[in-house]
């Protein structure tokens, strides 16, 4: 399932990141990589932007970017 399908407060494990190498590198710098655990902390109006937590870091993502991250429930 996609990251955007998670509800606020839900936890998941990253399965795959389907993005170009630039974005993938950036996400990796934030600690986002396959196998890592994340949780959804909040979102703005109409889920346009999503706030997630990974390894203690809070990260804001736009919907389009979040859609590229495939996750599964642990």
């Amino acid at each position: 399932m996609k990251l955007t399908e998670l509800k606020q407060g839900e936890e998941a494990v990253i399965v795959n990141i389907d993005a170009n190498s630039e974005l993938r590198n950036r996400l990796l710098s934030f600690g986002l990589a396959a196998g890592e655990r994340l949780s959804v902390k909040g979102h703005s109006l109409a889920k346009q932007t999503i706030e997630i937590e990974i390894d203690g870091t809070l990260i804001a993502l736009r919907r389009e970017e979040a859609d590229k991250i495939e996750v599964k429930r642990p």
């Binding site: 190498s21 590198n25 979102h43 706030e51 809070l58 804001a60 389009e64 970017e65």
Partner: protein, 707 residues
């Protein structure tokens, strides 16, 4: 005693406290804020360390660099860091790490270790780590990384003396033992290559291990260099084979990705070995505050409320000291007239310098309050939240959420705001932001607004008017962004991924530095630039003298009987004199341009001098309106004389014009540099002037219609 210079590069991910650390070990006041991308330019700071035993003194130059998540450049300011590390001269790297985000920070450390330079790893924010129950074994970590590791806190100054000592110690070392250990299959290939080189007694200026790693990483610079050498022919097949092995082992063909995975595994492994968490008290507070501040429905209204409150405060709290300062300058002007008598000199001092500079200085309290507000936004961590809240909205207008950061900086001063736009990666996002930044009213325009709002609206409304002006400017900026996005800067959408720092209470010291620094800058400007401008304007409005005209009026005045007639003649003389002055000539020339906006030539001239800097508008008005009118009246504050001489529609038109036209000379220079060409300044000038004129025209006519 011997003096030894050391150059240190301060590197680390954004918002880990590099600039704070430098401020704490030296007496510098680098800009600090609680969001990623505060430092966007390299800055050098000097400090000393005295080694008593070795009897030598070290002159340490620390280079503060923009934070970078990685050395693979992404944004402009990260490129500054990367270029510095690869191309410039320095003795050692200080890699600053946020102890509370060890794993993520070690990813960058891994890249830095690969540079093969002398290095110290600094575990900063130790105070926070302790509070969050995070324990790091720095000795263990030092063994893993092969470089010294030290715990510090820029907040409590823990470990700072030790850091200086360490800088000297590492400097004296011959070579670095920095190492990063890869998976076995890569280590094998590295070993293979190293053996290949050493068997051939190859002379390399970097350690062989680093040479091998860089070759495996397909580093273009090293390939170019090796290509020139005879060994290349033999090297090529060996290298090809090594890469084949690696590809085969990982099942991937992208060497960059393979090494990324290696770094990730390395960072994770290092963290596992060196760090333990005792309790998870970490993010509870931040989470609770976030539940409210980035609430989907309440978030934006709360933000707007904060802004509204800030402008109310700016106006009401600033009003009191403003009156005192104004009164003091008036008193000084009267005094100097008394002391110097009626002469050209007394007019220069009283009407030129004191009215011009005084008009500007009296707004100091307003400016300080506004900057204080911005400082709170910057240092608490709220800034990134607002960027988060606004991204969806901004995105619809063709802007990037991160544009919010330069835009807010622009409420303070447009110059640093232009530079802050470097954190935007895509060129079109950056250009659009640069073009609309001028619509965010900078603090130098506050005096004009306060002056006019105070003169033409009631005291209770003035704060609201201020708020409306700012919101209006910002909304117009959005519309302009949309138009620019659809026409001039189409470009692709850029991803929005941004770190949200945890909330932090700004320290008193930081607040003090903001207030002190801004006040000092402002007064400095008033004492130099504004002073010069005031003298210039005084001169241009008093000369050339026309003795004939004066004699003529003097006769008329003597001949007249009633007091009233005398006064009106006096006033006529003043305005005639002014019209024939240099300033008057310029004013008359540009009068047709401003006439449709309901403005007289004086207002036009004030706007023109405002091209230099917005503070000058106020000092020009101060000089022009203190000279001309109301000579016999004792109480003639600038606000009152404006009220008497300017109609409400013209005043509104004036405010609108000020809101929208180009900020100042200094900002123009920076704009040319950041946008990358003079022609963009031409476009900017045309765009802002056209928008300012037309909206001012509309404002003038609609207010007139309503009255």
């Amino acid at each position: 005693m011997e003096h030894i210079p050391i150059k240190v590069a301060m590197v680390g991910q954004p918002n880990v406290g590099k600039s704070s650390l430098i401020n704490s070990i030296s007496d510098a006041h680098l800009h600090v804020g609680n969001f990623a991308g505060v430092t966007v330019e390299k800055m050098e700071v000097e400090t000393r360390y005295c080694d008593e035993e070795g009897c030598c003194e070290y002159d340490i130059t620390i280079v503060d660099l923009p934070g970078a998540y990685s050395l693979r450049d992404f944004t402009l300011e990260e490129r500054v860091t990367r270029d510095f590390l690869l191309n410039e001269d320095y003795d050692l790297i200080i890699d600053v790490v946020d102890s509370t985000h060890l794993q993520r920070n070690l990813l960058l450390s891994a890249e830095l270790l690969e540079l093969g330079r002398k290095m110290i790893v600094v575990l900063n924010m130790n105070d926070e780590a302790l509070k969050e129950g995070i324990e790091i074994d720095e000795k263990q970590l030092s063994v893993i990384l092969g470089v010294p590791v030290i715990k510090t806190s820029a907040k409590t100054s823990e470990g700072l003396d030790e850091l200086k000592r360490l800088i000297a110690e590492v400097y004296k070392k011959q070579e670095t033992d920095s190492k990063i250990v890869y998976s076995d299959f890569i280590e094998e290939e590295i070993e293979h290559l190293v053996r290949f080189f050493s068997e051939r007694h190859y002379k390399s200026d970097i350690p062989l291990r680093h040479l091998a790693i860089r070759l495996l990483k397909e580093d273009t610079a090293i390939y170019r260099k090796m290509h020139e050498e005879p060994i290349w022919i033999e090297l090529l097949p060996v290298l090809r084979e090594a890469l084949e092995h690696i590809y085969l082992h990982t099942g991937k063909k992208d060497i960059e990705e393979i090494f990324n995975d290696e770094h990730f595994a390395f960072a994770k492994g290092a963290k596992m070995e060196a760090m333990s968490t005792k309790s998870m008290r970490a993010h509870n507070l931040t989470q609770k505050i976030d539940n409210l501040l980035i609430h989907p429905y309440l978030g934006i209204p709360i933000f707007l409320f904060f802004m509204w409150a800030l402008f109310q405060l700016t106006f009401t709290l600033g009003a009191l000291p403003m009156e005192w300062i104004g009164a003091t300058f008036d008193w000084m002007a009267d005094l100097s007239k008394e002391l110097l008598g009626e002469s050209a000199l007394s007019s220069l001092v009283a009407d030129g310098i004191l009215s011009g500079v005084g008009a500007v200085v009296s707004f100091l309290p307003n400016i300080v309050i506004l900057f204080l507000g911005i400082a709170f936004l910057e240092t608490t961590g709220y800034m990134a939240r607002v960027a988060f809240l606004l991204d969806g909205f901004f995105h619809k207008f063709g802007l990037h959420g991160k544009s919010f950061i330069p835009l807010v900086t622009g409420f303070g001063c447009t110059v640093p705001a232009y530079m802050a736009a470097r954190t935007l990666k895509s060129r079109s996002d950056r250009m659009i932001t640069l073009f609309i930044l001028g619509f965010m009213s900078c603090s130098a325009r506050i005096p004009i607004y306060v002056l006019f709002a105070g003169a033409f609206f009631s005291r209770d409304d003035a704060g609201n008017i201020l708020f409306l002006i700012y919101i209006g400017g910002a909304l117009l900026g959005l519309v302009a962004a949309k138009i620019l996005r659809m026409t001039a800067f189409k470009g692709e959408d850029d991803p929005f991924v941004m770190e949200m720092p945890k909330y932090r209470m700004p320290s008193l010291k930081l607040i003090y530095h903001v207030v002190y620094g801004q006040a000092k800058d402002y007064l400095n400007k008033a004492g130099t630039f504004i002073l010069m401008a005031s003298i210039l304007i005084w001169f241009a409005s008093n000369y050339p003298k026309n003795p004939q005209l004066e004699a003529l009026y003097q006769q008329k005045i003597e001949r007249s009987f009633s007091q009233e007639e005398k006064q009106s003649l006096q006033a006529q003389l003043q305005s005639k004199k002014m019209q024939e002055s240099y300033l008057g000539i310029v004013g008359r020339f540009s009068e047709p341009f401003f006439a449709p906006l309901g403005m007289d030539w004086k207002m036009g001239v004030a706007l023109e001098t405002g091209l230099a800097a917005k503070e000058v508008v106020v000092s020009t008005l101060g000089v022009l309106y203190s000279l001309g009118e109301d000579i016999d009246e004792e109480n003639s504050s600038l606000q009152e004389s404006l009220k008497k001489n300017i109609s409400l529609p013209a005043a509104v038109a004036f405010i609108v014009f000020v809101m929208l036209y180009i900020p100042c000379f200094a900002s123009m220079a920076v704009f040319v540099r950041e946008a990358g060409g003079w022609r963009y300044l031409g476009y900017l000038f045309l765009m802002t002037t056209a928008v300012a004129w037309s909206l001012s025209f509309i404002a003038y006519n609609s207010v007139k219609l309503f009255l």
